[in-house]
Amino acid sequence: MYVPHTEKDKEEMLKAIGAASLEDLVKQVPSKFLWPEFDLPRESLDESQAAARLTELSKKNCRPLSFLGAGAYERYTPAAVKAITSRTEFLTAYTPYQPEASQGTLQAIYEFQSTVCALYGMDCANASMYDGASSFAEAVRAAVRITGRRKIVYAAGVHPQYMDTLRTYFAHSPEYTYAKVPMKDGVMDKAALPALLEGAACLAVQTPNFLGLIEDMDGVADAAKKAGALLVAAADPVSLGVLKTPGEYGADFAVGEGQSLGLPLAYGGPYLGLFSCKKEHVRQMPGRICGMTKDKDGKRGFVLTLQAREQHIRRDKAASNICSNEALCALAATVYTALLGPEGMRELAEANMGAAAHAAGRLSSIKGCSLKFKGPFFNEFVLAVPGSAAAMRERALGQGVDIGLPLAPLYPELGETLLVCATEARTEADIARLEKAVKEAI
């Protein structure tokens, strides 16, 4: 317990209040509701006992050599990132409602927004959303607001959980319709676009897509524009160390999962929703936005701005209901990218591509295994395997290797396949172990 009050403190304070007891203060609560029975531990744990319990639990998780990706990526978190995010001046501050007392957080947000713009090649970005999936859903919502249309066209390679989340965000109304751009060789079949895009609010694409393949975005924005639809692009920010940016291929909104910028996997969160757009859509951005301004003496400073979009001002007319976002994760990503710089981001992206290319080469040389698709990929790829992929995964786990995600539950049309990911955290020796584990699991 972390309450400082002694019995004497409480007595003195009650006396100052002019109340005889706590019961006096809570008379507004009908007494029958006060102090019920709880079937909960009578004793709390002291810190060492709690530490022992938590350590024991953490050890019940096993730690295989993992080749899982699929939207969350194992990456080394540099000591300098942890050092900054554990500065309690950042950690224990609230949303910067008092700008004069929050310039540190505010400038960090400004630098974060700038970093997102730089990576995605976009005009403006917000202070973050909950995760990649909620950024994606909010971008599509913005496209629906802007165009006034209700038809959502999406590529088959969009992360299935992003689509699940999107459908939840639109679940309140049957008016919204969805059209899927079919897959050809693991990427969207661009020939299908003109017909599908008719009357659409947006085309939502992810590249590298869920299967790791890099979509060819040439002419895609034009196709959308011709139909009066907006282009929403989701991209892994690390891939943008080398890949063509959403800005370059003409996206209206660009979003992504910022976990891959050095945040721990932590079983799904807290992650970091990246959200950016073209200048003309800035007033349709959800969430907090930080802007640079001047103080009374003309000195540079930062404030939350364009707040007329937000729930605390507009209430039921707000662009989104988001209040708290993922500020500390955004800080981590900002420090991470500042440490790497443009060169480091390129090295990082190339190391991912190289590791995955090496893994793909090794695994496809195994008898019975092959690459499902021929197209260029970033840091993960689809491996066709002989027999049940799920059973193979379980057998390999027994050997301490997680060989990847069986895709049959998500993409039955792909048959028995695994989505295998290798980030820069995987070495040649790791990949040799993977190869051995796959061979033995067949």
Binding site: A19, L54, G71, S86, S324, A351, E428
Partner: protein, 482 residues
């Protein structure tokens, strides 16, 4: 805040030196990367080029420009800025938790699944409700989840209800969520004492009412004494009652919200359960609800099967997913660490001392800063600048800035909207009497200064890294990036 160079307010990119490097990636597999030129980005991203030390110094400097719970009393009403135990941080950083991939096989995730299951079970008991999802990332995200549950529930009963009743004292996220989900918000005027008016409520309740959203205690720090009747009236109209649980600190271990008659509520782990707010997140949310709503909860939830914990994907009636993967698990580990550190009695002590602290501040300031409500408050109080300051043309904002100069973060200001010039103070239970005494003294000093030299207060803050900022300029000519 001491001795931070005020002049050097350059951005990281303005400290950049081409060719300077921080972190390098040397994995030799990089050699195997190959990419067609047409797939490559053309421009180099404009990111800073700095040494690691430059980066550390830059961000360390920024950190020192902040007020935070660790450095300053931070009585931000509705935000529950209590002490964030260091132990929580260590727990979440344990390698076994931090490195677990969200798509890990259940067999590999037994520790985390057990933790989530135990956290969920304890919360259900603490709150007197039947089922829980830990997937929402924050309070507003939980509200969204809760209203979707209501939607699914009514659909399953073949009922069409499209109105959400929200009192005018509610937090902005309540009406924003309602309209985001396609509901019409019915704004309910509060009584002069800040409470809901049962008769007015009854007039608004009807076959179109889906949900009554109410904050308990409400945003004035007042308990809805007639809550039982309110819930009954809502239920008689066939509606559900949603409790915004942002203010649970006032009730924890003292009242079981489920017994009040509500159907579902949300938690903000970053408020009541001491997880740090990080300058705006990450938070953690939950919806805790009655059995009737359980089938619709987002998936997966965790269940125990034999001796094993498994992800449960439900029976097809779920509303789906509100975010990818499980939830903000790292935050939930911290909340669990906090849970372990409290017995039932100790939870009750949190409620008790948060109420004493708020009333103490209120009692010592009432003469100069009249309280909106004439009764005792629960965990927070809403004060106003009072006639002396008003006579000098001083506003709540001036009081807030005056506090910054005295080493205190300002309370929440101008919320709730129903109070003119609101100063909403939530001390939380972790602040000692001495700190509150210092805060009271500062507030009284500000009052005296306002009366004797109002301009000095209007010009405050004087001691911060920047003076008052031009928000109009920021909005008119948005400069949002380098």
């Amino acid at each position: 805040m001491i001795c931070v160079s005020a002049i050097d307010n350059r951005l990281s990119v303005e400290k950049s030196d081409p060719g300077r490097r921080g972190l390098k990636i040397k994995n030799p597999l990089r050699e195997k990367a190959c990419l067609k030129p047409e797939l490559r980005r053309k421009d180099r991203p404009k990111l800073p080029e700095m040494s690691e030390f430059d980066v550390i110094r830059h961000f360390t400097r920024l950190s020192r420009l902040n007020f935070s719970v660790d450095t300053h009393f931070y009585p931000l009403g509705s935000c529950t800025m209590k002490y964030n135990p260091r132990f929580n941080e260590e727990a979440a950083a344990l390698e076994g938790f931090a490195s677990l991939h969200p798509l890990a096989h259940d067999d590999c995730a037994q520790g985390t699944l057990e933790l989530l299951h135990d956290l969920g079970s304890r919360l259900k008991e603490l709150l007197g409700l039947d089922a829980i999802t830990l997937q929402p990332a924050a309070g507003a995200h939980s509200e969204f989840t809760g209203l979707l549950l209501a939607k699914a529930y009514f659909e399953s009963r073949g009922e069409e209800r499209d109105e959400i009743i929200v009192p005018d004292s509610a937090h902005g996220t309540n009406p924003a969520t309602a309209s985001m989900m396609g509901f019409t918000t019915v704004n309910l005027a509060s009584r002069p004492d800040g409470r809901l008016d049962l008769e007015t409520l009854k007039k608004h309740l009807g076959p179109r009412t889906a949900v009554l959203m109410m904050t308990v205690p409400n945003t004035l720090g007042i308990f809805e004494t007639q809550i039982e009747e309110i819930c009954r009236a809502a239920h008689e109209a066939g509606a559900l009652v949603y409790m915004d649980g942002a203010n649970l600190n006032a009730l924890i271990g003292m009242v079981k919200p489920g017994e009040l008659g509500i159907d579902m509520m949300h938690l903000n782990f970053h408020k009541t359960f001491s997880t740090p707010h990080g300058g705006g997140g990450p938070g953690g949310g939950a919806i805790v609800c009655r059995k009737a709503l359980a089938p619709f909860l987002p998936v997966p939830t965790v269940k125990k099967e034999g001796g094993r914990f498994v992800s449960d994907f439900g029976d097809g009636r779920s509303i789906g997913k509100v975010k990818s993967f499980f939830g903000n698990t790292g935050v939930l580990v911290k909340a669990y660490a906090y849970m372990l550190a409290h017995s039932v009695k100790e939870f009750g002590e949190i409620a008790r001392c948060s109420i004493i602290n708020a009333n103490y501040v209120r009692a010592l300031l009432q003469d100069l800063y009249p309280s909106y409500s004439k009764e005792y408050c629960m965990h927070e109080c809403v004060l106003t600048p009072g006639p002396d300051l008003a006579a000098k043309g001083l506003k709540t904002l001036d009081v807030a800035k005056g506090l910054l100069d005295r080493g205190f973060h300002a309370p929440t200001v101008y919320f709730p909207l129903i109070v003119h010039e609101a100063i909403m103070i939530e001390p939380t239970e972790t602040e000692s009497k001495e700190t509150l005494d210092e805060f009271v003294a500062a507030m009284r000093e500000i009052h005296a200064l306002g009366v004797s030299d109002p301009q000095a207060l209007k010009d405050s803050p004087h001691t911060m890294p920047v003076k008052r900022l031009d928000e109009v300029l920021a909005a008119r000519q948005p400069n949002l990036r380098w």
